[in-house]
């Protein structure tokens, strides 16, 4: 035993006297005091509990004196009291052979201890949670640092969930960072409302959150996560109605004896499983439940399906073994069987793993078929082969495969490439939908403005409210049929769209016609008819005089339509008496559509004719002469017209009477038509690239250019 440690009672008293010259407080505590906190004497004016000095009601958590007693050592600590820092030395001593701890306490002059920076650091260390340091600036919840310093290594029983916002990057890229930020804060707001005060929500980075819910049961935890997922999915981001929020959540229960970090790894895996489907929760709880229920029937619902095509059973088995845990596997033993599967499942197959050398149709044959039938646009193919000649690999890529894996393959690499490819395609699909929606949104606004304008005209005119819409639909259908019949007019699909849109403006000039003439029930006199005819000229001049837009394609087309939609193919129309194809095709098409709709609609001066009667009258030339090709087109589409153009005889004021439901339906139809034309033209672009073998490479063209 050290000489300094052992002393007599007398020696200790001398020592205490000496030390009191240096330290503010010197006290000697025995083993019993340290155990119970009770001080036997308060001769030195001490309160009667050792810890009362620190104004505490219970024993200090970091009682160094007890530790010093056990270790027979000298320990040092700092205590913080009334914004003063105290230095405490606990020194083990033996007085007359009995163990004690001598406590030496000094308040430190805080300015002298360290400089400002040091103090800030120290305060952070000593005061534990530091608001600023541990708060995420955007969302106000805990940040990564909090996790690293406070949570990571802690050992607690808690539900641990990884929450990842789906498609966050896409939102950021397409709608801008403000939208991304808003999405994040919205999600955080929902989660925060749904958890207890003791739960901890941490932003781990980007769009990834960690939720720690201490002392929670399996079931409650699982239910809670599902509730959060559902609530987020129901929520709209203010100002961004197109944003559809969803999160993928993976959750596990961390028991004592394991760190949160370990639990996170597992939760992360579950989260990635959920991610394959998105808007989904996967927890250990579910996994177990699934395992019990008929061999994981439920878990199948979120597995992507992979088609393995190889004539060797052995090869199929190896791949299947590697992938079957995470994917639903279907197999085909030949090129022909592969095509059967593609026909059966279509995009229910997320990826094809394709061998090259097979009897019958080989891998290239399959690729050829997939190109021709546009499967490759939606279903990626990874080739697996022991063929490693550059020529073959290049040919495979040229035919549109996403990846080429050489034998012998590495299980991990196969796994990774399959995952990446599937993820990329899923993302691309969502991106296309998002962009089409956005483009459509713009298109819709245009149509709305045009619609309002033409409604004003129709209102004055006493025409049916659906006249504009009908003309639009009819024009679209006629044009579609026209381009199928002939390429004489060389109309691109964007021109078709323009013509349909501009068709709404055909009667805009009626705004300048006296409504006594417009709404005259009986026949017009010659003079009145002459005035009426002026609506073509008036409309055209309105368009022509629109400053700043003369060069716009829409304006040019609208001018043609306004001015010449009453011309006839034989030159007997008005106002200019143009003949044949001197009349722009846009005006020719709209005039036919206009005539048809006028016939089947009720007007002040006439009853509505039936569809059949209207067609008959047009074909008989009772409404003037039309381009024979257009009449053929009209016949081609007459069944569709009959179905689509309906209810065009509303009574009374159309603006007041139109039902909302009908509007919505019309909107959806219009949208469908629009989508139709977009996708059809995408197909056109593919085939326009010529060689079928190359079309796989034109995938970038899948996003329509505007």
């Amino acid at each position: 035993m050290n000489k300094d440690t052992a002393m007599t009672k007398q020696e200790s008293e001398v020592m205490i006297e000496q030390l009191k010259k240096v330290f503010e407080v010197v006290r000697v505590l025995d083993a019993e005091t340290l155990e119970t906190g009770d001080l036997k004497t308060d001769a030195d004016g001490f309160p009667c509990k050792c810890y009362s000095f620190w104004k505490r009601g219970t024993r200090c958590k970091n009682c160094t004196s007890r530790e010093a007693l056990q270790k027979k050592d000298e320990l040092l600590k700092l205590e913080y009291l009334n914004s003063n820092i105290y230095q405490v030395i606990s020194k083990y001593i033996e007085i007359d052979g009995k163990p004690y701890v001598m406590e030496l306490i000094n308040a430190m002059n805080s300015d002298a201890i360290m400089d400002d920076d040091g103090r800030t650091e120290l305060i952070k260390q000593l005061s534990g949670y530091n608001r600023e340091l541990y708060t995420d600036a955007l969302t106000g919840i805990y940040n990564r640092r909090y996790y690293e310093e406070r949570i990571k290594n802690s050992d607690m029983s808690a539900g641990v969930a990884m929450i990842d916002l789906d498609d966050f990057k896409i939102y950021n890229d397409t709608f801008g960072h403000d939208a991304g930020d808003l999405a994040l804060t919205t999600v955080v707001g929902i989660i925060k409302d749904d958890i207890r005060r003791t739960d901890m929500l941490i932003r781990m980075g980007g769009d990834e959150f960690l939720l720690v819910m201490p002392d929670i049961t399996d079931q409650t935890f699982s239910d809670k996560l599902k509730q959060i997922q559902e609530k987020i999915h129901e929520t709209k981001v203010p100002g961004y109605s197109q944003l559809r929020l969803s999160v993928s959540i993976g959750g596990v229960l961390a028991g004592p004896g394991s760190t949160v970090e370990k639990a996170i790894r597992k939760a992360d895996q579950f989260m990635y499983q959920a991610k394959t489907c998105k808007n989904m929760v996967v927890t250990e709880h579910d996994e177990e439940a699934n395992g019990k229920s008929s061999n994981g029937e439920n878990s199948k619902t979120y597995k992507y399906r992979i088609l393995i095509v190889d004539d060797s059973e052995m090869n199929r088995e190896i791949l299947s073994e590697i992938l079957s845990e995470e994917y639903d596997i279907v197999e085909a033993e030949s090129g022909e069987a592969c095509i059967d599967m593609l026909r059966r499942y279509e995009t229910g197959i997320s990826l094809v793993l394709l061998d090259i050398v097979m009897p019958g149709m080989d891998g290239f044959g399959v690729l050829n078929y997939m190109n021709r039938h546009h499967y490759l646009e939606d279903i990626p193919v990874i080739m697996i082969s022991s063929e490693d000649s550059t020529e073959i690999v290049r040919r495979a890529y040229e035919m549109g495969v996403s990846d080429y894996i050489n034998r012998p393959f590495d299980a991990g690499v196969v796994h990774r490439r399959v995952y990446n490819t599937i993820k990329l395609y899923a993302k691309q699909r969502r991106l296309i939908t998002l962009i089409t929606n956005q483009v459509y949104e713009k298109e819709r606004n245009n149509r709305m403005m045009v619609g309002i304008l033409s409604q004003i005209v129709e209102f004055r005119n006493g025409e049916s409210g659906s006249h504009t819409l009908n003309i639009n639909v009819l024009t679209g259908m006629l044009l579609e049929s026209l381009v199928q019949r002939t390429d004489k007019y060389n109309i691109t699909w964007s021109e078709r769209l323009l013509i349909s849109t501009a068709s709404a403006l055909h009667d805009i000039g009626k705004i300048g016609i006296d409504d006594k003439i417009l709404n005259k029930p009986g026949r017009l006199t010659d003079e009145e008819f002459k005035i009426m005819q002026d609506h073509t000229i008036i409309g055209a001049s309105i368009i022509e005089n629109m400053e700043g837009y003369q060069d716009e394609e829409l304006m040019k087309v609208a001018y043609q339509i306004c001015r010449w939609h009453h011309e006839r193919y034989d030159g007997k129309g008005y106002p200019d008496g143009l003949k044949g194809d001197d009349i722009p095709i846009s005006a020719q098409v709209v005039s036919l559509a206009d005539v048809y709709d006028a016939l089947v609609s009720e007007r002040v001066y006439k009853k509505a004719y039936s569809h059949e009667k209207a067609i008959e009258m047009i074909l008989n030339g009772e409404c003037g002469t039309f381009n024979p090709v257009l009449l053929d087109c009209l016949l081609d589409i007459q069944d569709r017209i009959k179905r689509k153009v309906k209810g065009s005889t509303p009574e009374g004021n159309p603006l007041l009477k139109r039902e909302k439901g009908a509007d919505l339906k019309a909107f959806e139809h219009a949208k469908e038509d629009f989508m139709d034309s977009v996708s059809k033209n995408m197909e056109k672009e593919y085939s326009a690239l010529g060689n079928d073998e190359n079309s796989g490479f034109s995938r970038g063209g899948a996003i329509p250019k505007f």
Partner: protein
């Protein structure tokens, strides 16, 4: 004999296969499946039947499997035979190579049968 010892007896690099196919259990599972794989039988019958095209495909499949399972001893001659048969009109001149392939095939199967 363990699957590792089997590979060693065949002079093939077990660790290389192991690194690609995750676990010893999996390597064993796949390797033993080789005993039931029909591609060698197809190769032999199609050469006997002088069907060069089918023979090429069978040799090609056999070669691919050997690559993946790391049967280096059998891979080498089967690759040679594959290339000999690629685009060939007849199976002439393949007897010697086929004999080598058969010898290595039998050696591989014998070793695999000893795995427990």
């Amino acid at each position: 004999m363990t699957v590792r010892e089997c590979y060693e007896e065949l002079g093939s690099d077990f660790d290389k296969v192991l690194s690609r196919l995750v676990s010893e259990a999996l390597v064993k599972k796949f390797a033993l499946k080789f005993l039931n794989d029909p591609s060698f039988g197809q190769l032999k019958t199609s050469i006997e039947a002088k069907d060069a095209e089918t023979a090429f495909r069978a040799a090609h499949t056999l070669k691919g499997i050997c690559l993946n399972l790391g049967f280096d001893n059998l891979f080498a001659p089967s690759q040679e035979l594959t290339e000999k048969l690629r685009g060939a009109d007849s199976v002439d001149g393949t007897d010697e190579l086929l004999a080598t392939v058969e010898k290595e095939y039998n050696r591989t199967c014998d070793a695999l049968r000893k795995v427990d």
